[in-house]
Protein backbone atom coordinates (compact mmCIF):
# COMPACT_ATOMS: atom_id res chain seq x y z
CA UNK A 1 0.00 0.00 0.00
CA UNK A 2 2.94 2.29 0.78
CA UNK A 3 4.36 1.64 -2.67
CA UNK A 4 1.03 2.39 -4.29
CA UNK A 5 0.70 5.68 -2.42
CA UNK A 6 4.25 6.70 -3.30
CA UNK A 7 3.79 5.80 -6.96
CA UNK A 8 0.47 7.62 -7.16
CA UNK A 9 2.10 10.78 -5.78
CA UNK A 10 5.12 10.57 -8.07
CA UNK A 11 3.07 9.86 -11.21
CA UNK A 12 0.65 12.66 -10.36
CA UNK A 13 3.61 15.01 -10.12
CA UNK A 14 4.93 13.73 -13.44
CA UNK A 15 1.60 14.38 -15.19
CA UNK A 16 1.29 17.83 -13.62
CA UNK A 17 4.79 18.70 -14.79
CA UNK A 18 3.91 17.39 -18.24
CA UNK A 19 0.80 19.56 -18.36
CA UNK A 20 2.76 22.52 -17.07
CA UNK A 21 5.20 22.18 -19.95
CA UNK A 22 2.46 22.48 -22.57
CA UNK A 23 1.60 25.79 -24.24
CA UNK A 24 -0.95 27.87 -22.32
CA UNK A 25 -3.81 27.16 -24.73
CA UNK A 26 -3.39 23.42 -24.22
CA UNK A 27 -3.00 23.47 -20.47
CA UNK A 28 -5.83 22.05 -18.40
CA UNK A 29 -4.10 22.28 -15.09
CA UNK A 30 -5.89 24.66 -12.74
CA UNK A 31 -3.21 24.33 -10.04
CA UNK A 32 -0.35 26.01 -11.85
CA UNK A 33 3.21 25.22 -11.02
CA UNK A 34 5.83 27.93 -11.67
CA UNK A 35 6.54 28.36 -15.41
CA UNK A 36 8.20 25.36 -16.97
CA UNK A 37 11.96 25.52 -16.56
CA UNK A 38 14.94 23.34 -17.34
CA UNK A 39 14.78 22.03 -13.77
CA UNK A 40 11.19 20.93 -14.29
CA UNK A 41 12.14 19.20 -17.52
CA UNK A 42 14.91 17.31 -15.73
CA UNK A 43 12.49 16.43 -12.96
CA UNK A 44 9.98 15.20 -15.52
CA UNK A 45 12.55 12.72 -16.83
CA UNK A 46 13.95 11.81 -13.43
CA UNK A 47 10.74 11.14 -11.51
CA UNK A 48 9.52 8.07 -13.48
CA UNK A 49 12.95 6.49 -13.13
CA UNK A 50 13.03 7.31 -9.43
CA UNK A 51 9.52 5.87 -9.05
CA UNK A 52 10.54 2.67 -10.84
CA UNK A 53 13.66 2.17 -8.78
CA UNK A 54 11.95 2.84 -5.47
CA UNK A 55 8.98 0.60 -6.38
CA UNK A 56 11.30 -2.25 -7.34
CA UNK A 57 13.36 -1.81 -4.18
CA UNK A 58 10.26 -1.77 -2.01
CA UNK A 59 8.19 -4.50 -3.68
CA UNK A 60 10.44 -6.27 -6.17
CA UNK A 61 8.67 -7.59 -9.24
CA UNK A 62 5.30 -6.55 -7.82
CA UNK A 63 6.69 -3.00 -7.68
CA UNK A 64 7.56 -3.05 -11.38
CA UNK A 65 3.99 -3.97 -12.29
CA UNK A 66 2.57 -1.50 -9.78
CA UNK A 67 4.69 1.21 -11.44
CA UNK A 68 3.35 0.25 -14.87
CA UNK A 69 -0.29 0.13 -13.76
CA UNK A 70 -0.26 3.26 -11.62
CA UNK A 71 0.90 5.53 -14.45
CA UNK A 72 -2.20 5.23 -16.67
CA UNK A 73 -4.59 5.13 -13.73
CA UNK A 74 -3.31 8.41 -12.29
CA UNK A 75 -3.09 9.93 -15.78
CA UNK A 76 -6.68 9.05 -16.64
CA UNK A 77 -7.97 10.25 -13.27
CA UNK A 78 -6.13 13.57 -13.64
CA UNK A 79 -7.19 13.90 -17.27
CA UNK A 80 -10.84 13.54 -16.30
CA UNK A 81 -10.81 15.45 -13.02
CA UNK A 82 -8.71 18.50 -13.92
CA UNK A 83 -11.01 19.90 -16.65
CA UNK A 84 -13.93 19.51 -14.25
CA UNK A 85 -12.08 21.68 -11.70
CA UNK A 86 -12.40 24.71 -13.99
CA UNK A 87 -15.09 26.89 -12.33
CA UNK A 88 -18.50 26.39 -13.92
CA UNK A 89 -20.24 29.32 -15.61
CA UNK A 90 -17.08 30.81 -17.08
CA UNK A 91 -16.54 30.47 -20.82
CA UNK A 92 -14.60 27.27 -21.38
CA UNK A 93 -11.84 27.11 -23.86
CA UNK A 94 -11.32 24.11 -26.04
CA UNK A 95 -9.43 21.86 -23.73
CA UNK A 96 -7.77 24.75 -22.01
CA UNK A 97 -8.45 26.95 -19.06
CA UNK A 98 -11.36 29.33 -18.93
CA UNK A 99 -10.40 32.61 -20.48
CA UNK A 100 -7.24 31.27 -22.06
CA UNK A 101 -6.16 32.17 -25.56
CA UNK A 102 -7.96 29.34 -27.29
CA UNK A 103 -11.00 29.56 -29.49
CA UNK A 104 -14.35 29.13 -27.83
CA UNK A 105 -15.89 26.57 -30.15
CA UNK A 106 -15.08 23.76 -27.72
CA UNK A 107 -14.31 21.44 -30.61
CA UNK A 108 -10.88 21.58 -32.10
CA UNK A 109 -7.54 22.68 -30.78
CA UNK A 110 -6.29 22.79 -34.34
CA UNK A 111 -8.20 26.02 -34.97
CA UNK A 112 -6.16 28.01 -32.51
CA UNK A 113 -3.76 30.49 -34.09
CA UNK A 114 -0.84 29.21 -32.02
CA UNK A 115 -1.50 25.57 -32.76
CA UNK A 116 1.01 23.86 -35.04
CA UNK A 117 -0.47 22.74 -38.31
CA UNK A 118 -0.56 18.96 -38.15
CA UNK A 119 -2.94 18.40 -40.99
CA UNK A 120 -2.08 19.44 -44.54
Amino acid sequence: MMTLALLAILWTLVWLLHLNGLPAYRRQNPCHLPPASRFQNHLLRLLPVLALVSACLMDGLDGLFLWAFTAPVTGILLGIILPLCVPAGRPRASGGLAGSLSSLNGQSLQKHSEAPKYLP
Binding site: M1, T3, L4, W15, H18, L19, L22, R26, Q28, D59, L61, D62, F65, L66, A68, F69, T70, A71, P72, V73, G75, I76, L78, G79, I80, L82, P83, L84, R92, S94, G95, G106, Q107, L109, Y118, P120
Partner: protein
Amino acid sequence: MSPRLRTALRFFHRWIGFPAGLFLFILCFTGSLACFSPEIQGWMQPRTTLQAPLPPITQAGLLEAGLALKTQLDGGTFAFLKLPSPRDPVFRLWHYDGRLFLGPALAPDTGLPLKGHDVTGGTFFVTLHSNLHLPSPWGQIIITLAGVGLLITLLTGLWLQLRRFLPDLLLFRPHAARQRRWLDLHLLGGTLYLPVLFIIGLSGVVLQSQKLLHMINPPHRSPGHASRHQTHTAAPPAISPVILTSLTDNGLRQWGTIADGFLMQTSRELGLYAPDNLHFCLQRHALTPSHPDMLPQPLCPTVHSFFIGLHNLRWAGLITRWLYCLSGLLGCAIIGSGMVLFLQSERNGLAHAGTISFSRQGLQRSYEALSTATLLGLPLATLALFWGTRLPTPDALSPVIWEERLFYDIWGLSLLHGFITRRAARQQIGLLALLGFGTTGLDLATRSFHTGRPLLFMAVDALAACIGLVSLVCLLRQPKVTA
Protein backbone atom coordinates in the same frame (compact mmCIF):
# COMPACT_ATOMS: atom_id res chain seq x y z
CA MET B 1 1.21 12.33 -42.86
CA SER B 2 -0.33 12.24 -46.29
CA PRO B 3 -4.13 12.32 -46.47
CA ARG B 4 -4.12 9.00 -48.32
CA LEU B 5 -2.11 7.30 -45.59
CA ARG B 6 -4.31 8.84 -42.94
CA THR B 7 -7.44 7.59 -44.70
CA ALA B 8 -5.95 4.11 -45.03
CA LEU B 9 -4.93 4.00 -41.37
CA ARG B 10 -8.33 5.22 -40.28
CA PHE B 11 -10.00 2.59 -42.47
CA PHE B 12 -7.95 -0.23 -40.95
CA HIS B 13 -8.38 1.12 -37.42
CA ARG B 14 -12.16 1.18 -37.79
CA TRP B 15 -12.79 -1.95 -39.81
CA ILE B 16 -10.37 -4.18 -37.94
CA GLY B 17 -11.10 -2.55 -34.58
CA PHE B 18 -14.87 -3.01 -34.67
CA PRO B 19 -15.14 -6.75 -35.39
CA ALA B 20 -12.12 -7.52 -33.22
CA GLY B 21 -13.54 -5.23 -30.52
CA LEU B 22 -16.64 -7.41 -30.22
CA PHE B 23 -14.46 -10.29 -29.04
CA LEU B 24 -11.86 -8.16 -27.29
CA PHE B 25 -14.51 -6.65 -25.04
CA ILE B 26 -15.53 -10.17 -23.99
CA LEU B 27 -11.90 -11.10 -23.40
CA CYS B 28 -11.11 -7.97 -21.37
CA PHE B 29 -14.28 -8.31 -19.29
CA THR B 30 -13.87 -12.00 -18.56
CA GLY B 31 -10.12 -11.55 -18.03
CA SER B 32 -10.82 -8.93 -15.38
CA LEU B 33 -13.20 -11.30 -13.62
CA ALA B 34 -10.74 -14.18 -13.98
CA CYS B 35 -8.25 -12.20 -11.85
CA PHE B 36 -10.56 -12.91 -8.93
CA SER B 37 -11.79 -16.37 -9.84
CA PRO B 38 -11.44 -17.90 -6.32
CA GLU B 39 -13.19 -14.90 -4.78
CA ILE B 40 -16.08 -15.16 -7.28
CA GLN B 41 -16.31 -18.87 -6.46
CA GLY B 42 -16.60 -17.90 -2.79
CA TRP B 43 -19.31 -15.32 -3.47
CA MET B 44 -21.32 -17.84 -5.48
CA GLN B 45 -20.97 -20.48 -2.76
CA PRO B 46 -21.30 -18.43 0.43
CA ARG B 47 -21.19 -21.53 2.65
CA THR B 48 -17.64 -22.24 1.51
CA THR B 49 -16.39 -18.93 2.84
CA LEU B 50 -16.98 -20.38 6.34
CA GLN B 51 -17.55 -18.62 9.61
CA ALA B 52 -15.04 -16.39 11.36
CA PRO B 53 -12.45 -17.29 12.58
CA LEU B 54 -11.45 -19.35 9.56
CA PRO B 55 -10.52 -22.91 10.61
CA PRO B 56 -6.96 -23.92 9.69
CA ILE B 57 -6.04 -26.96 7.62
CA THR B 58 -5.48 -29.98 9.85
CA GLN B 59 -3.87 -33.35 9.38
CA ALA B 60 -7.22 -35.09 9.88
CA GLY B 61 -8.81 -32.82 7.26
CA LEU B 62 -6.04 -33.55 4.77
CA LEU B 63 -6.32 -37.31 5.27
CA GLU B 64 -10.10 -37.26 4.90
CA ALA B 65 -9.85 -35.13 1.76
CA GLY B 66 -7.16 -37.49 0.44
CA LEU B 67 -9.55 -40.41 0.93
CA ALA B 68 -12.24 -38.53 -0.99
CA LEU B 69 -9.73 -37.95 -3.81
CA LYS B 70 -8.88 -41.67 -3.86
CA THR B 71 -12.57 -42.56 -4.09
CA GLN B 72 -12.97 -40.26 -7.10
CA LEU B 73 -9.87 -41.62 -8.84
CA ASP B 74 -10.91 -45.22 -8.15
CA GLY B 75 -14.30 -44.40 -9.64
CA GLY B 76 -12.63 -43.32 -12.90
CA THR B 77 -13.07 -39.55 -12.43
CA PHE B 78 -9.88 -37.64 -13.07
CA ALA B 79 -10.14 -35.40 -10.03
CA PHE B 80 -7.54 -33.35 -8.21
CA LEU B 81 -7.49 -31.86 -4.74
CA LYS B 82 -6.85 -28.14 -4.45
CA LEU B 83 -5.45 -27.23 -1.07
CA PRO B 84 -6.89 -24.40 1.03
CA SER B 85 -5.37 -20.92 0.78
CA PRO B 86 -6.21 -17.51 2.22
CA ARG B 87 -8.05 -16.71 -1.05
CA ASP B 88 -10.10 -19.91 -0.93
CA PRO B 89 -9.99 -21.46 2.53
CA VAL B 90 -11.45 -24.89 1.68
CA PHE B 91 -10.33 -28.06 -0.08
CA ARG B 92 -11.72 -28.29 -3.61
CA LEU B 93 -12.11 -31.78 -4.99
CA TRP B 94 -12.42 -30.71 -8.60
CA HIS B 95 -12.58 -32.34 -11.98
CA TYR B 96 -12.68 -30.61 -15.35
CA ASP B 97 -15.77 -31.40 -17.40
CA GLY B 98 -14.45 -29.78 -20.58
CA ARG B 99 -15.72 -26.32 -19.72
CA LEU B 100 -15.80 -25.94 -15.95
CA PHE B 101 -14.06 -27.12 -12.82
CA LEU B 102 -16.71 -28.88 -10.75
CA GLY B 103 -16.76 -30.79 -7.50
CA PRO B 104 -17.43 -30.53 -3.79
CA ALA B 105 -15.82 -28.14 -1.33
CA LEU B 106 -14.42 -29.86 1.75
CA ALA B 107 -13.89 -28.33 5.17
CA PRO B 108 -10.20 -27.62 5.87
CA ASP B 109 -10.37 -28.96 9.44
CA THR B 110 -12.47 -32.11 8.95
CA GLY B 111 -12.18 -32.83 5.23
CA LEU B 112 -15.94 -33.46 5.08
CA PRO B 113 -18.08 -32.01 2.27
CA LEU B 114 -19.62 -28.62 2.99
CA LYS B 115 -23.28 -28.00 2.31
CA GLY B 116 -24.16 -26.25 -0.91
CA HIS B 117 -24.58 -27.16 -4.54
CA ASP B 118 -22.12 -26.97 -7.41
CA VAL B 119 -21.98 -23.62 -9.16
CA THR B 120 -20.50 -22.42 -12.42
CA GLY B 121 -18.08 -20.42 -10.27
CA GLY B 122 -15.15 -18.21 -11.12
CA THR B 123 -13.66 -20.81 -13.46
CA PHE B 124 -16.60 -20.17 -15.81
CA PHE B 125 -15.03 -16.81 -16.66
CA VAL B 126 -11.53 -18.29 -16.84
CA THR B 127 -12.56 -20.80 -19.50
CA LEU B 128 -14.72 -18.24 -21.29
CA HIS B 129 -11.62 -16.06 -21.43
CA SER B 130 -9.38 -18.85 -22.69
CA ASN B 131 -11.62 -20.48 -25.32
CA LEU B 132 -14.94 -18.58 -25.42
CA HIS B 133 -16.58 -21.93 -24.50
CA LEU B 134 -16.22 -22.91 -28.13
CA PRO B 135 -15.01 -26.33 -29.26
CA SER B 136 -11.31 -26.61 -29.87
CA PRO B 137 -9.66 -25.17 -31.97
CA TRP B 138 -12.33 -22.58 -32.92
CA GLY B 139 -12.11 -20.68 -29.65
CA GLN B 140 -8.34 -20.46 -29.88
CA ILE B 141 -8.47 -19.39 -33.54
CA ILE B 142 -11.00 -16.63 -32.86
CA ILE B 143 -9.09 -15.37 -29.82
CA THR B 144 -5.80 -15.37 -31.70
CA LEU B 145 -7.35 -13.43 -34.58
CA ALA B 146 -8.95 -10.98 -32.14
CA GLY B 147 -5.58 -10.55 -30.43
CA VAL B 148 -3.86 -9.86 -33.73
CA GLY B 149 -6.70 -7.42 -34.46
CA LEU B 150 -5.97 -5.70 -31.15
CA LEU B 151 -2.29 -5.31 -32.02
CA ILE B 152 -3.08 -3.93 -35.49
CA THR B 153 -5.69 -1.57 -34.05
CA LEU B 154 -3.28 -0.34 -31.39
CA LEU B 155 -0.53 0.27 -33.93
CA THR B 156 -2.80 2.05 -36.44
CA GLY B 157 -4.29 4.11 -33.61
CA LEU B 158 -0.83 5.05 -32.39
CA TRP B 159 0.24 6.04 -35.90
CA LEU B 160 -2.86 8.17 -36.35
CA GLN B 161 -2.25 9.92 -33.04
CA LEU B 162 1.55 9.97 -33.21
CA ARG B 163 2.11 13.71 -33.72
CA ARG B 164 -0.38 14.65 -31.04
CA PHE B 165 0.65 11.85 -28.72
CA LEU B 166 2.48 13.95 -26.15
CA PRO B 167 0.64 17.30 -26.41
CA ASP B 168 -2.78 15.61 -26.18
CA LEU B 169 -1.76 12.92 -23.73
CA LEU B 170 -4.14 14.03 -20.97
CA LEU B 171 -6.69 15.81 -23.09
CA PHE B 172 -10.32 15.34 -22.15
CA ARG B 173 -13.03 17.91 -22.85
CA PRO B 174 -16.07 17.04 -20.73
CA HIS B 175 -18.04 20.04 -22.00
CA ALA B 176 -17.47 19.48 -25.72
CA ALA B 177 -19.91 17.85 -28.14
CA ARG B 178 -20.91 14.24 -27.46
CA GLN B 179 -18.80 12.66 -30.20
CA ARG B 180 -15.77 14.74 -29.20
CA ARG B 181 -16.17 13.60 -25.58
CA TRP B 182 -16.20 9.95 -26.63
CA LEU B 183 -13.18 10.50 -28.86
CA ASP B 184 -11.28 12.25 -26.06
CA LEU B 185 -12.12 9.40 -23.69
CA HIS B 186 -11.03 6.85 -26.28
CA LEU B 187 -7.73 8.66 -26.90
CA LEU B 188 -7.07 9.38 -23.22
CA GLY B 189 -7.42 5.73 -22.27
CA GLY B 190 -5.92 4.39 -25.49
CA THR B 191 -2.73 6.43 -25.34
CA LEU B 192 -2.09 6.02 -21.61
CA TYR B 193 -2.90 2.31 -21.60
CA LEU B 194 -1.14 1.59 -24.88
CA PRO B 195 1.92 -0.15 -23.35
CA VAL B 196 -0.17 -2.19 -20.91
CA LEU B 197 -2.70 -3.20 -23.56
CA PHE B 198 0.08 -4.06 -25.98
CA ILE B 199 1.81 -6.34 -23.48
CA ILE B 200 -1.44 -8.01 -22.43
CA GLY B 201 -2.49 -8.45 -26.06
CA LEU B 202 0.88 -9.72 -27.21
CA SER B 203 1.22 -12.21 -24.36
CA GLY B 204 -2.34 -13.42 -24.98
CA VAL B 205 -1.66 -13.91 -28.69
CA VAL B 206 1.55 -15.81 -27.97
CA LEU B 207 -0.20 -18.11 -25.48
CA GLN B 208 -3.11 -18.85 -27.81
CA SER B 209 -0.79 -19.37 -30.78
CA GLN B 210 1.22 -21.85 -28.73
CA LYS B 211 -1.99 -23.73 -27.92
CA LEU B 212 -2.83 -23.85 -31.61
CA LEU B 213 0.67 -25.02 -32.48
CA HIS B 214 0.47 -27.74 -29.82
CA MET B 215 -2.81 -28.93 -31.34
CA ILE B 216 -1.21 -29.19 -34.75
CA ASN B 217 2.05 -30.64 -33.49
CA PRO B 218 1.70 -32.15 -29.98
CA PRO B 219 4.82 -31.63 -27.85
CA HIS B 220 7.01 -34.56 -26.88
CA ARG B 221 6.55 -35.45 -23.21
CA SER B 222 9.33 -36.78 -21.01
CA PRO B 223 8.78 -40.37 -19.76
CA GLY B 224 7.98 -39.25 -16.19
CA HIS B 225 5.31 -36.86 -17.28
CA ALA B 226 1.81 -37.79 -18.33
CA SER B 227 -0.94 -35.56 -19.62
CA ARG B 228 -4.40 -35.56 -18.09
CA HIS B 229 -5.69 -37.82 -20.86
CA GLN B 230 -2.80 -40.25 -20.55
CA THR B 231 -3.14 -40.55 -16.78
CA HIS B 232 -6.86 -41.00 -17.18
CA THR B 233 -6.18 -44.41 -18.67
CA ALA B 234 -3.53 -45.31 -16.07
CA ALA B 235 -4.31 -47.19 -12.88
CA PRO B 236 -5.21 -45.00 -9.85
CA PRO B 237 -2.20 -44.22 -7.66
CA ALA B 238 -1.75 -45.33 -4.10
CA ILE B 239 -2.95 -42.70 -1.62
CA SER B 240 -2.21 -43.40 2.01
CA PRO B 241 -1.83 -41.22 5.10
CA VAL B 242 1.94 -41.77 4.99
CA ILE B 243 2.19 -40.59 1.38
CA LEU B 244 0.01 -37.53 2.01
CA THR B 245 1.93 -36.55 5.11
CA SER B 246 5.34 -36.97 3.51
CA LEU B 247 4.29 -35.02 0.40
CA THR B 248 2.93 -32.08 2.37
CA ASP B 249 5.94 -32.09 4.71
CA ASN B 250 8.31 -32.05 1.74
CA GLY B 251 6.28 -29.29 0.09
CA LEU B 252 6.37 -27.16 3.22
CA ARG B 253 10.11 -27.74 3.59
CA GLN B 254 10.95 -26.84 0.00
CA TRP B 255 8.44 -24.11 -0.82
CA GLY B 256 7.62 -22.67 2.59
CA THR B 257 3.90 -23.07 1.88
CA ILE B 258 1.53 -25.50 0.20
CA ALA B 259 -1.51 -23.20 0.31
CA ASP B 260 -3.13 -23.10 -3.15
CA GLY B 261 -1.07 -26.10 -4.29
CA PHE B 262 -2.84 -29.24 -5.45
CA LEU B 263 -2.62 -33.00 -5.31
CA MET B 264 -3.02 -34.69 -8.68
CA GLN B 265 -2.17 -37.99 -10.27
CA THR B 266 1.09 -37.98 -12.23
CA SER B 267 1.60 -41.07 -14.39
CA ARG B 268 1.38 -43.80 -11.70
CA GLU B 269 1.87 -41.74 -8.56
CA LEU B 270 0.21 -39.01 -6.59
CA GLY B 271 2.00 -35.68 -7.00
CA LEU B 272 1.92 -32.48 -4.98
CA TYR B 273 2.11 -29.49 -7.32
CA ALA B 274 3.53 -26.19 -6.14
CA PRO B 275 1.18 -23.22 -5.76
CA ASP B 276 0.92 -21.11 -8.93
CA ASN B 277 1.76 -17.97 -6.98
CA LEU B 278 5.16 -19.25 -5.91
CA HIS B 279 7.14 -18.01 -8.94
CA PHE B 280 6.70 -15.42 -11.66
CA CYS B 281 6.84 -18.15 -14.31
CA LEU B 282 4.40 -21.01 -14.06
CA GLN B 283 6.27 -24.15 -13.02
CA ARG B 284 4.22 -27.32 -13.04
CA HIS B 285 6.60 -29.76 -11.41
CA ALA B 286 5.36 -32.16 -8.78
CA LEU B 287 6.81 -33.76 -5.71
CA THR B 288 6.03 -37.46 -5.76
CA PRO B 289 6.75 -40.31 -3.34
CA SER B 290 9.55 -41.52 -5.66
CA HIS B 291 10.91 -37.97 -6.29
CA PRO B 292 10.46 -36.22 -2.94
CA ASP B 293 12.94 -33.47 -3.76
CA MET B 294 12.52 -30.91 -6.50
CA LEU B 295 15.51 -30.65 -8.79
CA PRO B 296 16.80 -27.10 -9.23
CA GLN B 297 14.84 -25.48 -12.03
CA PRO B 298 15.62 -22.35 -14.03
CA LEU B 299 13.48 -19.37 -13.06
CA CYS B 300 11.56 -19.54 -16.34
CA PRO B 301 11.88 -23.05 -17.79
CA THR B 302 10.02 -22.26 -21.03
CA VAL B 303 8.86 -19.27 -23.06
CA HIS B 304 5.31 -20.44 -22.40
CA SER B 305 5.79 -20.25 -18.62
CA PHE B 306 7.17 -16.71 -18.96
CA PHE B 307 4.16 -15.53 -20.95
CA ILE B 308 1.77 -17.28 -18.55
CA GLY B 309 3.40 -15.36 -15.72
CA LEU B 310 3.17 -12.12 -17.64
CA HIS B 311 -0.44 -12.60 -18.76
CA ASN B 312 -2.06 -14.27 -15.74
CA LEU B 313 -0.22 -12.51 -12.90
CA ARG B 314 -1.10 -15.35 -10.51
CA TRP B 315 2.03 -14.59 -8.51
CA ALA B 316 1.07 -10.95 -7.93
CA GLY B 317 -0.06 -9.36 -4.69
CA LEU B 318 -3.58 -8.16 -4.01
CA ILE B 319 -3.05 -4.52 -5.05
CA THR B 320 -1.32 -5.48 -8.29
CA ARG B 321 -4.15 -7.89 -9.09
CA TRP B 322 -6.72 -5.17 -8.41
CA LEU B 323 -4.88 -2.79 -10.72
CA TYR B 324 -4.63 -5.52 -13.35
CA CYS B 325 -8.37 -6.11 -13.05
CA LEU B 326 -8.88 -2.35 -13.38
CA SER B 327 -6.68 -2.36 -16.48
CA GLY B 328 -8.96 -4.96 -18.02
CA LEU B 329 -12.04 -2.91 -17.19
CA LEU B 330 -10.42 0.22 -18.63
CA GLY B 331 -9.59 -1.86 -21.69
CA CYS B 332 -13.34 -2.53 -21.89
CA ALA B 333 -13.96 1.24 -21.67
CA ILE B 334 -11.47 1.94 -24.48
CA ILE B 335 -12.95 -0.75 -26.72
CA GLY B 336 -16.49 0.31 -25.81
CA SER B 337 -15.81 3.98 -26.58
CA GLY B 338 -14.25 2.92 -29.89
CA MET B 339 -17.37 0.95 -30.77
CA VAL B 340 -19.61 3.88 -29.85
CA LEU B 341 -17.50 6.15 -32.08
CA PHE B 342 -17.75 3.63 -34.91
CA LEU B 343 -21.55 3.53 -34.57
CA GLN B 344 -21.81 7.32 -34.45
CA SER B 345 -19.61 7.66 -37.48
CA GLU B 346 -21.69 5.10 -39.41
CA ARG B 347 -24.87 6.88 -38.31
CA ASN B 348 -23.47 10.21 -39.51
CA GLY B 349 -22.59 8.57 -42.83
CA LEU B 350 -26.17 7.37 -43.19
CA ALA B 351 -27.55 10.78 -42.27
CA HIS B 352 -25.46 12.47 -44.96
CA ALA B 353 -26.24 9.89 -47.64
CA GLY B 354 -29.12 10.88 -49.91
CA THR B 355 -30.87 7.58 -50.37
CA ILE B 356 -30.32 4.69 -47.99
CA SER B 357 -30.69 1.16 -49.27
CA PHE B 358 -32.47 -1.48 -47.23
CA SER B 359 -29.29 -3.54 -46.90
CA ARG B 360 -27.36 -0.53 -45.56
CA GLN B 361 -30.06 0.05 -42.97
CA GLY B 362 -29.95 -3.63 -42.05
CA LEU B 363 -26.19 -3.49 -41.65
CA GLN B 364 -26.44 -0.46 -39.40
CA ARG B 365 -29.04 -2.23 -37.26
CA SER B 366 -26.74 -5.28 -37.06
CA TYR B 367 -23.81 -3.16 -35.88
CA GLU B 368 -26.00 -1.60 -33.21
CA ALA B 369 -27.45 -4.92 -32.07
CA LEU B 370 -24.02 -6.57 -31.89
CA SER B 371 -22.60 -3.62 -29.96
CA THR B 372 -25.54 -3.66 -27.56
CA ALA B 373 -25.19 -7.39 -26.97
CA THR B 374 -21.46 -7.03 -26.36
CA LEU B 375 -21.28 -3.84 -24.30
CA LEU B 376 -24.49 -4.34 -22.32
CA GLY B 377 -25.59 -7.93 -22.86
CA LEU B 378 -22.43 -9.48 -21.45
CA PRO B 379 -22.43 -7.51 -18.15
CA LEU B 380 -26.17 -8.15 -17.92
CA ALA B 381 -25.72 -11.90 -18.43
CA THR B 382 -22.88 -11.89 -15.90
CA LEU B 383 -24.99 -10.21 -13.26
CA ALA B 384 -27.82 -12.61 -14.07
CA LEU B 385 -25.40 -15.51 -13.57
CA PHE B 386 -24.42 -14.10 -10.17
CA TRP B 387 -28.12 -13.82 -9.28
CA GLY B 388 -28.75 -17.32 -10.64
CA THR B 389 -26.26 -18.86 -8.22
CA ARG B 390 -28.18 -17.45 -5.27
CA LEU B 391 -31.76 -17.99 -6.45
CA PRO B 392 -33.61 -21.33 -6.37
CA THR B 393 -32.95 -23.62 -9.32
CA PRO B 394 -35.83 -25.09 -11.34
CA ASP B 395 -36.34 -28.71 -10.27
CA ALA B 396 -35.83 -30.18 -13.74
CA LEU B 397 -32.32 -28.77 -14.16
CA SER B 398 -29.02 -29.17 -12.36
CA PRO B 399 -27.80 -25.87 -10.88
CA VAL B 400 -24.79 -25.63 -13.19
CA ILE B 401 -26.84 -26.21 -16.34
CA TRP B 402 -29.46 -23.73 -15.13
CA GLU B 403 -26.85 -21.04 -14.47
CA GLU B 404 -25.09 -21.56 -17.79
CA ARG B 405 -28.40 -21.53 -19.64
CA LEU B 406 -29.44 -18.37 -17.82
CA PHE B 407 -26.17 -16.67 -18.83
CA TYR B 408 -26.38 -17.59 -22.50
CA ASP B 409 -30.14 -17.04 -22.77
CA ILE B 410 -29.87 -13.52 -21.35
CA TRP B 411 -26.94 -12.77 -23.65
CA GLY B 412 -28.82 -14.11 -26.66
CA LEU B 413 -31.96 -12.21 -25.70
CA SER B 414 -29.90 -9.04 -25.47
CA LEU B 415 -28.79 -9.53 -29.08
CA LEU B 416 -32.34 -10.28 -30.21
CA HIS B 417 -33.61 -7.25 -28.32
CA GLY B 418 -31.02 -5.12 -30.12
CA PHE B 419 -32.35 -6.31 -33.48
CA ILE B 420 -35.99 -5.72 -32.56
CA THR B 421 -35.89 -2.19 -31.18
CA ARG B 422 -33.58 0.80 -31.20
CA ARG B 423 -34.54 1.46 -27.58
CA ALA B 424 -32.78 -1.81 -26.61
CA ALA B 425 -29.65 -0.10 -25.31
CA ARG B 426 -31.62 2.24 -23.08
CA GLN B 427 -33.80 -0.54 -21.71
CA GLN B 428 -30.86 -2.83 -21.09
CA ILE B 429 -28.96 -0.07 -19.30
CA GLY B 430 -32.00 0.32 -17.05
CA LEU B 431 -32.02 -3.41 -16.33
CA LEU B 432 -28.28 -3.35 -15.67
CA ALA B 433 -28.76 -0.54 -13.13
CA LEU B 434 -31.53 -2.51 -11.45
CA LEU B 435 -29.52 -5.74 -11.19
CA GLY B 436 -26.36 -3.89 -10.16
CA PHE B 437 -28.02 -2.04 -7.31
CA GLY B 438 -30.06 -5.09 -6.30
CA THR B 439 -27.05 -7.38 -5.91
CA THR B 440 -26.23 -6.15 -2.40
CA GLY B 441 -29.80 -6.81 -1.23
CA LEU B 442 -29.79 -10.25 -2.83
CA ASP B 443 -26.46 -11.07 -1.23
CA LEU B 444 -27.58 -10.06 2.25
CA ALA B 445 -30.88 -11.91 1.86
CA THR B 446 -29.39 -15.20 0.68
CA ARG B 447 -26.45 -15.78 3.03
CA SER B 448 -25.83 -15.69 6.75
CA PHE B 449 -24.89 -12.19 7.86
CA HIS B 450 -21.81 -13.28 9.83
CA THR B 451 -19.15 -14.66 7.55
CA GLY B 452 -15.46 -15.39 7.71
CA ARG B 453 -14.75 -13.15 4.71
CA PRO B 454 -16.91 -10.02 4.86
CA LEU B 455 -14.54 -8.04 2.59
CA LEU B 456 -15.04 -10.52 -0.24
CA PHE B 457 -18.81 -10.02 -0.24
CA MET B 458 -18.47 -6.27 0.19
CA ALA B 459 -16.06 -6.03 -2.76
CA VAL B 460 -18.30 -8.00 -5.14
CA ASP B 461 -21.41 -6.12 -4.01
CA ALA B 462 -19.59 -2.79 -4.39
CA LEU B 463 -18.46 -3.68 -7.92
CA ALA B 464 -22.00 -4.63 -8.87
CA ALA B 465 -23.25 -1.37 -7.33
CA CYS B 466 -20.62 0.52 -9.39
CA ILE B 467 -21.99 -1.11 -12.56
CA GLY B 468 -25.46 -0.03 -11.40
CA LEU B 469 -24.29 3.53 -10.74
CA VAL B 470 -22.50 3.89 -14.08
CA SER B 471 -25.59 2.50 -15.82
CA LEU B 472 -27.84 4.94 -14.00
CA VAL B 473 -25.65 7.90 -14.94
CA CYS B 474 -25.61 6.73 -18.59
CA LEU B 475 -29.37 6.29 -18.50
CA LEU B 476 -29.93 9.82 -17.23
CA ARG B 477 -27.49 11.39 -19.68
CA GLN B 478 -28.38 9.35 -22.76
CA PRO B 479 -30.58 11.09 -25.32
CA LYS B 480 -33.91 9.35 -25.90
CA VAL B 481 -34.16 7.31 -29.08
CA THR B 482 -37.31 6.70 -31.04
CA ALA B 483 -37.93 3.18 -32.27
